[in-house]
């Protein structure tokens, strides 16, 4: 790997759309500098979420950030929302350019 790749974490949260505002607030609060959202559908413990009306829309929320920030977001999201909301969260390793953009 060339020297200009820098190790970061990618935190992915799949959640019901009602959490969108809350997740954005958590990301900002933890100090991450950006996020990306995609519309998804799926199924899990709470059954199928087919996404064809507003009550069953799900989003996939992704943040590239450093490990500490990812931990902060994950802890807060799990602590506050995991019990009451449809929510799946996972972390993976990525490498980025322009490391200063991903704190």
């Amino acid at each position: 790997m060339e020297p200009h790749w820098h190790a970061r974490k990618l935190l992915t949260i799949i959640a019901e759309a009602a959490l969108e505002r809350a997740l954005v607030a958590e990301v900002r609060h933890a100090g991450a500098l950006g996020y990306t959202i995609a519309e998804v559908r799926g199924a899990g413990q709470a059954g199928e979420r087919a996404g064809d009306w507003e009550g069953e829309r799900s989003i996939e929320f992704r943040v590239v950030c450093d490990e500490a920030t990812a931990g902060v977001i994950a802890d807060r999201v799990m602590g506050r929302y995991a019990r009451d909301y449809s929510l799946v969260l996972y972390l993976s390793d990525v490498q980025v350019r322009r490391a200063e953009r991903f704190t």
Partner: protein, 311 residues
């Protein structure tokens, strides 16, 4: 018999789900139609609203707000005592039944128009007004007196939510422009109303069908609740309409409003304000039972009762 087109369209959607058809309507169409219905109802109501002196409406508005505060309390009591539900779920479901359903109102409007029965179109204003108190009461019931930090944001979200905003916006535009000013937009907002409602019913049928298949999550008591409550509330609404001097059609429509349960504003607000309530038990009865009950049977019943009251 005077079968309304919305009924077979709703049935077709439910049927498509039951036979596991791959029929799916794009979510964008669902959203576009719901924006359209809100605007169309608002505009229609606004045009009529302009004809009434605001002062004359005030008593009606206050009475309707009172209705919106009392109904969720009744629903809550029933859910706690008779159904035996825990506090958060009872409060959340009370909010749904205290608030109102736009598409049920639209179906009521279509039902009356099909039969040429006059009604006060400005009831769309009450539709907008009735969205809110049920939700507020529901949140207060869930939290007791601990209104707490989240209450302000919640209220703000309900008041700026798409249903209240588009209804009030449509009412204001309708009142401002009047029938002449809106004439050029009538081919969209008036002529297409019934057809668009039918399409929306088809979509909702698909949603309803899926909720129906999950009724066992809610349990038999809630199913009974989901049939008795609209009946009771529908009679209450019609009676209030009669008291307030509405026409027979208007009283039937106020009954329909009271009988209807919210499936847009209330679920969204409850997810934020009462997250510990489980939408997996409220949505099946709201969408799988009460909504089709009102469309298939309720409209007839509330109207018959309004006729009876007017005698």
């Amino acid at each position: 018999m005077n079968l309304d087109p919305v009924i077979p369209f709703l049935l077709l959607g439910i049927l498509a789900r039951l036979v596991k058809s791959d029929l799916r309507l794009p979510e964008a169409l669902y959203e576009a139609l719901s924006v359209y219905l809100l605007l169309a109802l608002g505009l229609k109501g606004g045009v009529e609203l302009a004809k009434h002196p605001a002062a004359g409406l005030l008593p009606q508005v206050l009475a309707v707000i009172a209705l919106g505060l009392v109904l969720p309390l009744l629903a809550f009591a029933g859910l706690r005592r008779m159904v035996g539900l825990d506090r958060p779920n009872a409060a959340a479901i009370a909010a749904h039944y205290g608030s109102v359903s736009v598409v049920t109102f639209a179906a009521g409007v279509a039902w009356l128009e099909t039969r040429g029965i006059a009604f006060e179109a400005y009831l769309a204003l009450f539709l907008a007004i009735l969205e809110v108190p049920g939700i507020v009461v529901g949140v207060l019931l869930a939290r007791g007196l601990r209104v707490g930090a989240g209450f302000g944001p919640m209220l703000r979200e309900v008041l700026t939510g798409k249903s209240v905003l588009l209804l009030l916006g449509g009412l204001a535009i309708g009142a401002l422009l009047g029938p002449a000013g809106l004439k050029s937009t009538a081919p969209l907002f008036v002529d297409l109303f019934k057809g668009a409602l039918c399409l929306f019913m088809l979509e909702l049928g698909l949603v309803t069908g899926r909720q129906l298949s999950q009724l066992r999550r809610s349990g038999p008591r809630l199913v009974v609740f989901a049939v008795l409550t609209p009946l009771l509330f529908g009679f209450a609404g019609a009676a209030l309409g009669n008291l307030l001097g509405l026409s027979v059609g208007g009283a039937a429509l106020l009954g329909t409003l009271a009988a209807s349960a919210s499936y847009i504003a209330a679920p969204a607000a409850m997810r934020v304000a009462v997250p510990e309530a489980n939408p997996g038990i409220s949505l099946p009865i709201v969408l799988g039972v009460t909504f089709p009950f009102n469309v298939f049977i309720g409209l007839e019943v509330y109207h018959a009762y309004a006729v009876h009251l007017a005698r």
